[in-house]
Symmetry: C2
Subunit: 577 residues, 2 copies
């Protein structure tokens, strides 16, 4: 008789999030694993890894028995479990309990428009919705529209209990867990089982659903760890024994950039701020001796503006990764002046790409370069992360030369690149085309070292005559002017050139009317130093209290263009084109 070899526990052993989830409780059952600070009350909650694991088991039991959530299998997704929640321990429990029992976690971005939130719930077909107390008013507003879809609601709060509300049936999260067993028989799912569903922030059209399998999330995290461990750059939020990460990236943004996976796998003490506030961030860094974090530029700008920043001991902080939007050199420089030991590099990714695919690691032989030289590298978009193929194609589908000048579209393929938009073959075909590459819609150039620099979204390009205005370069340079906090550029219709650039600028606190200074700065630092050509300089500069941003903190050029007349009316005309 031939021996049975169990290939499913060998060559086909599945890559599942359960492996990540189980590691900390086996290594550090009695150590504090999860720290959560309520951003409004300032109160802390701390859980050992055993406590967190047991709560996660209870939650899985509750999903199965009380909420009737059914697991899926490869090729057929399990029930969708939606969340509208901040970065707290309950959300982290949901992040593992739902996918590891075979369901799909759909973390909704609460900042989407109401119509878009309703759309994602309908499109996803969410069977149950877990939401934080803070989100209650929002859920009440959309309740009548989503009740045909969502069968059950779970209310989550630090105090426990459920409020008076029209929403029903509604469960209290803590009550739901109480009666459940602290053990759960986690299944060995097929690794191609769907694990999470994220919707893109749509700048045009309705949000698109991106479904990730366990395998994709596992490999994304594992490769990102490898990339971080090989990184030359001391600025990389480091792994290793002493890492204490604070997870600022909202869990609802592209799986929280994989951080909830990486740091649970690493069995680090995971610090959760609820929602990001400068005060909460500083308090947590000081109290928990946080070493590393990820931020979007908006958060960094909030920190830089925070009056009490210097009252806190932030000396434990050694690494900050910035993503979600380009990191302006000016903002980076200001942060370095204010936060001792601060050092940050940028990266690039999309919901569709895991998200991590490119990061501005420096190379080994740059070790002895001056800080100024290194900074020039670090604000480039970066190099491909190990394990993913990244290229920049010209209009004929050929790689552009590495001359740091010729631009093309960033294309990708690799183990954690989205396969298709959920139930949307048309828009899937637009990005995958027919050449075996995922087309990002982002325009970049490549230097001879292989570093990509993103120039623009294809849809955001400003065309002046036959030329494309390098808006990201303009934005970065403009943000280094003393009086500028944030800067973006949009195209303004022009009878002669088609379009001409307008700068939209938020000044640093206290600064006033400095359009001419900014223009002179661009002439001196840009044109005279050969970084810009004169025709690239803005025809208009508009000062504004707030630059419109998308829910993930990117400059919202769609909104600016919609309100173009408003911005133009307060803009100063700088030159005749």
């Amino acid at each position: 008789m031939e021996g049975k070899t169990y290939p499913e526990f060998s060559t086909r052993y599945p890559l599942l999030l359960r492996t990540f989830m189980k590691r900390p409780v086996s290594l550090y059952p009695n150590e504090i694993g999860v720290v959560y600070r309520n951003a409004d009350t300032g109160q802390y909650q701390r859980f050992t890894w055993r406590e967190w694991y047991q709560r996660t088991c209870r939650l899985a039991n509750a999903l199965q028995s009380s909420l009737d959530i059914k697991p899926g299998r490869a090729g057929e997704s399990g029930d969708r479990v939606a969340t509208m929640a901040l970065n707290n321990h309950r959300h982290l429990e949901l992040f593992y309990a739902a996918p590891c029992m075979g369901a799909v976690l759909h973390a909704i971005v609460p900042r989407l428009s109401l119509d878009h939130i309703v759309h994602t719930i309908e499109h996803s077909g969410d069977k149950v919705l877990f939401f934080d107390d803070l989100i209650l008013p929002l859920v009440e507003m959309i309740y009548d529209r989503i009740k045909p879809i969502v069968e059950k609601f779970v209310y989550m709060s630090d105090g426990g209990g459920v409020p008076e509300t029209k929403i029903e049936p509604i469960y209290d999260y803590e009550e739901l867990l109480k009666g459940q067993s602290a053990e759960f028989d986690w299944p060995y799912l097929d690794e191609d089982t769907c694990a999470s569903l994220c919707y893109t922030t749509a700048t045009t059209g309705l949000p698109k659903g991106v479904m990730y399998t366990h395998r994709q999330l596992y490999l994304h995290a594992l490769h990102l760890m490898a990339a971080m461990s090989w990184a030359a750059d001391p600025a990389i939020p480091h792994l290793g024994d002493s890492a204490v990460p604070i997870l600022n990236t909202p869990f609802c943004h592209a799986n929280g950039w994989g951080m909830p996976h990486i740091y649970v796998y690493g069995a680090c003490k995971v610090v959760l701020p609820g929602r990001f506030t400068p005060e909460g961030f500083c308090d947590l860094v000081q109290t928990e001796k946080v070493t590393s974090t990820t931020l979007v530029p908006t958060m960094l700008a909030m920190l830089v503006e925070y009056e009490d920043l210097k009252k806190y001991d932030l000396s434990s902080l050694v690494g900050i990764g910035v993503g979600g939007a380009a990191l302006p050199l000016g903002l980076k420089t200001k942060a370095e002046q204010l936060i001792p030991g601060f050092s940050a590099i940028s990266g690039y990714g999309m919901t569709e790409t895991g998200p991590a695919v490119v990061s501005a690691f420096t190379k080994r032989y740059m070790r002895n370069w001056s800080k100024e030289e290194l900074d020039k590298v670090r604000v480039k978009t970066g190099l491909p992360i190990a394990g993913v193929e990244v290229d920049v194609f010209d209009e004929n589908g050929r790689p552009v030369p590495r001359d740091n000048e010729t631009i093309g579209e960033i294309v990708l393929r690799g183990p954690w690149i989205m396969e298709e938009y959920y139930k949307d073959p048309e828009r899937t075909a637009q990005v995958w085309k027919d050449d075996g590459w995922f087309h990002t819609g982002d325009v970049a150039k490549v230097d001879e070292e292989g570093y990509l620099t993103i120039v623009d979204r294809i849809t955001d390009v400003i065309r002046s005559g036959a030329e494309m205005v390098p808006t990201v370069l303009l934005e970065n340079l403009t943000a280094t002017a003393d009086c500028v906090l944030e800067a973006t550029y949009v195209g303004v219709p022009d009878p002669k050139w088609g379009e001409r650039p307008m700068a939209v600028i938020k000044l640093v606190p206290g600064a006033t009317e400095c359009e001419d200074d900014i223009y002179k700065f661009l002439e001196a630092e840009g044109v005279e130093k050969g970084r810009l050509t004169k025709w690239m300089l803005p025809d208009f500069i508009a000062l504004t209290d707030e630059i419109p941003k998308t829910s993930v903190g990117k400059y919202d050029k769609i909104t600016i263009k919609k309100e173009l007349e408003k911005f133009l009316s307060k803009a100063k005309k700088m030159r005749e084109a």
Copy 2:
């Protein structure tokens, strides 16, 4: 029309060694990537990553066109390409060219007996054999027996050319490469395609073949990197920008423990010693500023005995991983005294397990422990490496309690555990049994922290009455005695107890007749300190110039038992049982 989504470049993007191979040339094309020192002539050869990559492409072209090697696919292995070679650049080229073109690399252990070498070649069905000049006499000895199998031979030497020999057809490696293109169109294989075939060193019966797929090798390396990057222990051969590894573990031993994969992926400068010699090791460490390495205890013992050790600057060395056999605390202590900055931890694995599955990482809260306390942890066999499941089962297939006392068999499952012995269902059934766990045949206990300590091979156990003698504990303790360099234990037939232990000992250089000192040491450090019970002490102590070892450096108890009378005749009887 529905859009094509290319799942093979997304959810099914294959995990292939080509990803590892291509990384260094894309990051560091012009940096020295591979350094090889000929252990006999002392001559160095250096290659940039572009040179190494181009040579590897040329080799793949030669395999395909000149040697007619055919690729395989999932479920059907490609042609087998055998090597009998040291750790040099050519072997590293073969390590990638053969599997990445779809063939199977079979790295033969040249220290096997001739019969076993012939058996592995016949059993594997090697179509071509690449061998080093040093191996020529050996290949000539077996030529008549293997020529019905092996169709072509390739001779590899630093000087080039082929010698006068009866072997034919024979090709010169460098000539073979010369005519070939420096580019190769590497296929996107199925990740379940076979990549390498390793034979176990059989202590009983014929060597068994272990076939690894690309996916298994990829995931082994990636998880090992993750484990190393999370490790608390400064003694771990570190990754990161500044790592300069020397690859001492022979490539023919379980894929060189994955080091040729990890460090090429890391785009480190890879230092290759040909064969291990203390002089070559010291010269390479000093010249190349080597930071880390892996060794078997025998190599470490050779270093400790090397007279000129202190003439070299070894200060760059920060991490040494020891495996292949248990690391005696005594040997470790001696190495620490001789090599400044030396620090080592042990690990555990088998050819069947990738090999890495267990490593003696310390835990975070041990950070401030004394060196003595830490050393006690580091000589334990260790904790499971992230990504693999490890347990210790009693005779009824239940996990043993974590009391550091109850012993059982180590069982495993995970993504890089062998699926089946190549063409050997019978012995496959012996290890996989019917419970979904791979049974290692190694006996261990588990402490409350989860650390495993290997007690013995099931087949090496010494049974005295109803009790098992803890031979590994005895070996480790004995090796800490001042006059002892190496120590092992075997059972001697005894009319009353069935078996009684005999120590077989190699003394440190200069020491003589100290059996009584050793015995007293065991009484004082073992029995009086509660580590041993009196009945465990050896009845006999045999001093010997060399302890027989297997080809991978483990104590060869089979040979000792075969020659038991010889050892008994020079043994001193220490006690009446």
